[in-house]
Amino acid sequence: MGVKLLLDKAHIEGIRYYDAYRRNGGYASVEKALKMTPEAIVEEVKKSGLRGRGGAGFPTGMKWSFIAKPEGVPRHLVCNADESEPGTFKDRYLMEFIPHLLIEGLIVSSFALGSHATYIYIRGEYAWIPDILEQAIAEAKANGWLGKNILNTGFDCEIYVQRGAGAYICGEETALIESLEGKRGNPRIKPPFPAVKGVWERPTVVNNVETLAAVVPVINMGGEAYAKIGVGRSTGTKLISACGNINKPGVYEIDMTISVEEFIYSDEYCGGIANGKRLKACIPGGSSVPILPANLLLKTAKGETRYMNYESLSDGGFATGTMMGSGGFIVYDEDQCIVKNTYTLARFYRHESCGQCSPCREGTGWMEKILKKIDSGKGAHEDIDLLWDIQRKIEGNTICPLGDAAAWPVAAAIRHFRDEFEWHVDNPVECLQRNYGLAHYADEREVVA
């Protein structure tokens, strides 16, 4: 069993409610943190090496230290619970089953950042979760952990839950801020960064649910001890939501020393590929990160074991590696069609593009159309080159990273599974009846360095 810091108590009866949570050591980090200075808390978080769990992996302590502190201007912490990246459902688990952990992390983090009004922005479709969070907030408040003059320190803090209404783009932090201001979720041009001008032009820090929950163990055990868990710059634990063709889909907490192979095949985690099939491919960090064929997933191009951490997953760059991303781990068995899967992802990004920049708005539309054409047996070989061209023209030419996020899955699918696209073009009838994967397995291929 690996180390568990977030979900270690998730299975205790009644942990969703205050009494059980408190009885099992809950809110100890608030008691500890409120005796420290805000600067000392930021320092602990820096020492812990905690990196943002929302996808980009930016060091949290450093992000906190950037927040501007102009005289007389309130600052805000905003918790990003928009969780809409396909394959990702870990924040939902945390909020549903152990909501007080998030509230506890939010209180400590609000104190460190000087936020007296903290907002949880949650995707609108998670319509039943605000009730769970609001109950946890009410319980925390009734027990003196929130509200005015918390623990007689003079620190006041309120936490509010704000629902979105269906828009992946509102997970991007500046779009989230626009949405929280009651506007369309159009990302802002940076700079100014939210740390200087965020919600209502006030300095704002936006962090992921899991990141803020992880502040609790960081404070409880101290930054140095937290940094000893994991490996290298992948410190602490990470929640992985695993789905696709595996025996045990679900949310797992891992310490980042285990191999990808262990994660997929061991009974403690995914429990192997479902129905006795073979592994074909995997998107290990949410739909935006590159898909890898089995051979490059379990071993790097250098033939070394690949591990479930930031560095190892990205070993080889985009040519032969991928990314940790949000931890949305999608597994494909030998029967799955990469073309069709890529088409559904392209459709997703077209649907979610806010439309502000033409490379993203037009490019995502074209990619969807061409992929649909190839998937339905009407494609030509030139279409594959055209797809490649379009994704290259989007990448790096947009206001926000959604453009890149739309381009990468298409690029990686063509890079690693080009023969499958070509087979679709060459077999317009057959491709409608069966999958290329039946004839050809990714894990039998040569490693291309």
Partner: protein
């Protein structure tokens, strides 16, 4: 076309969460309240929300049209929003969509003539490990099978019969 007392109280509570003068932040939560009460957002409803929050009507239209959860047309009493993105697709969401469509005699985007059911395809709802799945009102229905779909439709019909 007005809010109940209770909803008006809720609106004041929501507005109080933001700084003075920033009541526009309440727009999305208040549109949710409106949709809960009226089922969809008509121009009249949006104008009413604008007046509640001292906004220009166009500020409300702009927002209501951006977010996929807001219904700008009437929908059925029960809306089945089936996820069709990759992880659900590889677990059979296409079959579930086709089955519901066949059973209800409608295509995605349509409502049954008795106004009972709307079928809609949506993108990833954050339940990929419990696929195939759909949203129905406030909750998710996960691990869908044809039998489960039958039972859900049956339950909706029974509930509607009881409430009428």
């Amino acid at each position: 076309m007005v809010f109940s007392e209770e909803r008006l109280k809720k609106v004041s509570e929501i507005v109080a969460r933001y700084p003075e003068g920033k009541q526009k932040s309440a727009l999305i939560p208040v549109l949710h309240l409106a949709q809960e009460q009226f089922g969809w957002l008509s121009a009249e409803t949006m104008d009413y929300v604008a007046s509640l929050l001292s906004l220009e009507p166009v500020e409300v239209y702009e927002v209501a049209t951006f977010y996929s959860m807001f219904n700008l047309k009437p929908v059925g009493k029960y809306m089945f929003e089936v996820c069709q993105t990759g992880p659900c697709m590889i677990n059979g969401s296409d079959d579930i969509i086709a089955y519901i469509g066949e059973k209800l005699g409608i295509k995605p985007g349509e409502t049954t003539s008795d106004g009972m059911f709307t079928l809609k395809t949506v993108e990833c709802l954050g339940a990929c490990g419990y696929a195939p799945m759909m949203q129905m009102g406030k909750f998710y229905k996960e691990h869908l099978t044809k039998e489960k779909v039958d039972a859900i439709i049956e339950e909706c019909r029974n509930n509607a019969a009881v409430n009428n």
